[in-house]
Symmetry: C2
Subunit: 361 residues, 2 copies
């Protein structure tokens, strides 16, 4: 056995591949419903329907964005944070906005069933939210994410994601940024062929992507601009990290037209392989990490060391109904995985590139 190091977060994961051999007698999940109507009159995200706030959706024909009716962070601030009574009882105010991004008018589709040009429109919405919220007074980070599948807490199958914009850089992206900045201070001669980061400094993620593109054993998909891989430090069984590997790109804003198009294609490719793995609508949480907000000036800032990337955290382990539980030992001590990153990448590579519901069509 061994444990692997996650340089992005400074964390570890224990790898115990032989654990896949044990029989599973625990909880099984409800398989995802595949037979959904194209329009559901009870869905508050479908075109023309009423939401819980009483507002009626437009009859939108592509993507649509609206502010969540039950936001986790509110602007202007709600109840005040408690007074600092002791150094061990500290808190600070946080505020912001929660937006919902609907990917498509059809209730029954997901990223895996959308065309690349449909996905390009979703990418354009993400860019627009990043600009709009990121330029808003007091906003320090825009977190774009998607919870897909009931297993991942998604309460509505209509294809959608969210963007929470916050007055503080939240913990995970903040730790990543710190580690990217530290890495840039080090000299990493070994990797001189990797593309240079801002001001010629080394970018941890550019170096890493370059390395993985050369090795291949953890790569799931590769196109002209993007690499999708099961990271060395993967915790979730079929976790994927998606990032540009040809040049340093701090955020969605810096993508060229071609890079946006190739991003749409690889997002589609990942979603299709995921669904094909267990022939089910594959659940996951997806999140975009990038430079916290758009730059305020034209010069290269400290935060431009951020390198745009997508995390996919899917829970399924053995089949459409048997997931990995990250519980007792994982919560109390250290994450532990039951197959190697290389095994997971191989299995995803072996999956067809045509969606199983489109087979023979």
């Amino acid at each position: 056995m061994f444990r692997k190091d996650n340089p992005l977060l400074g964390e570890y994961v224990i790898v115990s591949p032989h654990r896949m051999k044990r029989p599973w007698q625990g909880q099984t999940e409800q398989p995802q419903k595949v037979e959904l109507p194209q329009y559901d009159e009870k869905c508050y995200l479908c075109p023309g329907n009423e939401r819980s706030g009483g507002i009626r959706n437009e009859k939108y024909t592509s993507t649509m964005v609206f502010e969540n009716d039950f936001p986790a962070v509110l602007s202007p601030p709600g109840p005040k944070s408690p007074e600092p009574i002791h150094p061990l009882l500290r808190s600070e105010p946080i505020q912001g906005n929660c937006d919902v991004v609907i990917f498509h008018p059809r209730h029954d589709l997901t990223l895996a069933r959308l065309s690349s040009s449909d996905i390009e429109r979703v990418i354009e919405e993400w860019k627009a939210i990043y600009v709009k919220r990121g330029n808003q007074e007091g906003i320090k980070y825009v977190q774009i994410f998607e919870n897909k599948g009931a297993m991942m807490g998604c309460s509505n199958p209509h294809p959608h994601g969210q963007a929470w914009s916050l007055s503080q850089v939240p913990q995970v992206p903040s730790t990543e940024l710190t580690n990217l900045k530290e890495y840039a201070q080090r000299s990493t001669e070994e990797l001189s062929e990797a593309p240079a980061g801002p001001n010629g400094k080394h970018c941890l993620l550019c170096d890493y992507a370059h390395l993985e593109a050369g090795q291949g054993e953890r790569v799931v998909l590769l196109n002209e601009d993007w690499i999708a891989l099961v990271p060395w430090w993967a915790v979730w069984p079929f976790e994927i990290l998606l990032l540009p590997y040809k040049r340093h790109i701090p955020s969605l804003l810096e993508l060229t037209k071609e890079e946006s198009a190739s991003l749409a294609r690889i997002l589609s490719g990942i979603a299709v392989k995921y669904d094909n793995l267990f022939r089910t609508s594959f659940a996951y949480s997806m999140g975009i990490h990038q430079r916290p907000v758009p730059p305020k000036s034209n010069s290269v800032g400290e935060d431009d060391i951020a390198h745009l990337h997508f995390h996919f955290d899917p829970p399924l382990l053995r089949s459409a109904t048997v997931r990995k539980f990250l519980v007792g030992f994982e919560l109390m001590s250290e994450p532990q995985r039951d197959l190697t990153a290389e095994q997971a990448a191989q299995r995803l590579r072996d999956c067809a590139d045509v969606h199983y519901l489109e087979e023979g069509k």
Copy 2:
């Protein structure tokens, strides 16, 4: 809204109490089965039954310990860790033992239904494992934990926990130890009445427990030695931290007979309140953090700054079937909770101290 600081781990949590008002249309859990037989011939943990390894359990009448047939960490080491090929691709070997601790011969009981004297026997088993494994060559940490309920990945309802002993101090206890050591270096004049830690230094957890015992609003249960509270930095809806508050106690080993008995009573009290909250067998992961291994000498060591404590992480939020999902935003950015720690503590305090299945008996 506000975010709170966890000084034990150096992490944050966002508190958004108004989110409880939103309607829940997402996944609901299978309620736990309450009607279990006292003996189940298909259970590999019941007395006299055969386990998957082919070994037959003794007809034990109290607690029983055996080595897991599908351990996550093996001794002697299994497959070698990959060669270090690059600073971004690091790994190190890890090995050890996985033990299973059966709490009671009866298949249908849980900590909430066991008598305090039965729980005292479980505590004695935990002490014995901590000594046996912790004194074993190469073992650096003994992680005792329990996954209770199918929702928390437990594959067998027979009351049991586990102990994974490892050749490295795992991530979470290692971070806690670092923060306890740092805190001990600081001067914390404000808290001079709190019990002193080893060598008269301040212990973060002694100071914290003292503070909470004085305030009361986050306290769930308190007896002559122990305090059970919803910590300031709780992430899980009804998370509990249980610790001794009268004196600094590095590990289970240092407990007096009386402290072991009062520990059994408060463990029973927590488990009963948990079950009563939603009148269901309440799922959780529980873990013990303490000094990594028993001391090698009689003098006070650096690791004696550890202060024995129990974490309870339960997923249920609204009812016996509606849990909190720590997904998208929580995985990608920062944990977020839907009720305040004080609200959670109040609700648990309000729960009866007699188990709902024993009512009127």
